[in-house]
């Protein structure tokens, strides 16, 4: 009896509270991927993806909490349910689609190979026998592996470390998503003077937001949010703000 009474009292209370407070989604990001997600000097996570997911959250009436997660393991975390969404410049690939649910594509990129200024490499063939760096588990590394050219691949924890090693002369090239490559080659202080874009791949990749396998409902909601953000012209504004292409 007492239990029933408690339930009767608690149930409306729970319903009310959920109706008042907006639903919350926890979003994981690996802020080593400028200008998509990175840390500013005050240690805030900023970038295109962050603004985008916040705009989407606003449209679909969800509070967004952004959490910093290491790339190596970011997928394992969403699979384990530690957070709801990955917004970290994740390319939609068939292999990943098998293991996770994706939202619709929200941004298209290519892979760019960055070299030191003066290096004349213009395709993968020119990198034969040389050392190429990238961030572990990113599509840049996969594209380099699939190119079939015999080169030494070094997989860093963080693309910034790979760029640093390129600058230091320990590796010959770095491969990563085009916005990131362009950021280092054209904007990032200390790097722009020494690095140049060697070439970009022809194939286009699309970023999507990742949710746990089976969370189609959440993916659908994110899709609605992406549509709304596009329709309102927020997306175009954010592209102008961050990508500067």
């Amino acid at each position: 009896m007492l239990r029933r009474l408690l339930c009767a009292l608690l149930l409306p209370a729970l319903l009310c509270s959920s109706a008042v407070a907006a639903e919350k989604i926890v979003v994981a990001t690996n802020p080593t991927w400028p200008p998509l997600e990175f840390l500013d000097s005050d240690k805030n996570i900023i970038g295109y993806d962050i603004d985008m997911i916040n705009a989407i959250g606003k449209e679909i009436g969800m509070d967004v909490e952004v959490r910093m997660v290491a790339w190596d393991g970011i997928f394992a975390g969403v699979a384990a349910g530690n957070y709801d969404v990955i917004a970290s410049g994740v390319t939609i690939t068939p292999e990943r689609q098998r293991a996770f649910e994706f939202s619709k594509p929200y941004y298209d990129v290519q892979q760019i190979v960055v070299v030191k200024k003066g290096d004349s490499a213009a395709n993968f063939e020119a990198l034969k026998g040389r050392t190429v760096g990238g961030q572990i588990g990113t599509t840049g590394v996969f594209v380099a592996q699939k190119s079939g050219v015999d080169m030494t691949l070094r997989e860093y924890d963080d693309v910034g470390l790979a760029m640093q090693d390129l600058l230091n002369g320990r590796i010959d090239a770095v491969i990563c998503d085009s916005p990131v490559a362009l950021y280092y080659a054209n904007q990032k202080e200390g790097f722009t003077d020494h690095l140049a874009v060697a070439f970009r791949t022809e194939a286009t990749e699309s970023f999507g937001f990742v949710v746990k396998k089976g969370r189609k409902d959440l993916a659908e909601r994110l899709n609605k949010g992406i549509d709304a953000v596009r329709a309102k012209g927020v997306e175009a504004e954010l592209i102008r703000k961050w990508m500067g292409e």
Partner: protein, 274 residues
Amino acid sequence: MRDNEENGLPAGVAPEGKIEVPAGGLVLPDSEKGGLVNAWSLSLVGALAVLTFLCTVWPDPYLEILRFLPEGLVVTFEVTILSIVCAIPLGLITGLGRLSRNRVINLIASTYVEVIRGIPLLVQIFYIYYALAKFLQVSGLTSAVIAISFCYGAYMGEVFRAGIMAVPKGQTEASRSLGFNKVQTMVFVVLPQALRTIVPPVGNECIAMLKDTSLVSVMAMPDLMQYGRSFAAKSYLYFETYTVIALIYLIITLLLSKAVSILESRLNYYDKRK
């Protein structure tokens, strides 16, 4: 990373002049408690059985993972062996330096131990590879060996010091009174006796070193751990990949610890005959 030697003192020097393996370290198999069923053989057989079972029943991910790893294993061994070769002499020099009555040498050795012991190995690796690159460029392998052997040189210095201190003073006195000089006393009388107490903890350090080489994957060194991470990042099979990695590390470590215990029992040959 390491937990068995925080107190800095000649830890575990028992009155009868034996070093006890500090708590928290790896338990070396005790050959005297023989028999087929002991912790060591149980772990080894268990690890091998699980690995074989997984590879035969689900060859699709497991055998594939196992086939992916051998090159990484080679790098892991390379780093470990080179680090051991550098760390043991460094440890001996440090241990002797810590015992030296020359205040300058003593101070240098002690400062080295204090500084290195206070910085995590991961930070040291980052420091040598990325931070010092500003002034001095060394390859991944060199940085790894420098970082690990510097770190473990400091740890081993304490082991050597404790081992040497555990040799009864009378030995030195007798040797000196028979006309040996200081160096001869150390080389021919003290060190050979200290060796018996030093070997087990040093063996322990070497095993710990092998495990700690997994840290070098942060500088994109293609060791066993890095190959595993690379495979997991490509296939998203985290459970499967890290299970195999853990089992391989376990098997290697168990074999090494057996080797250390055999070495130990050989060195204690005369103790047993008493």
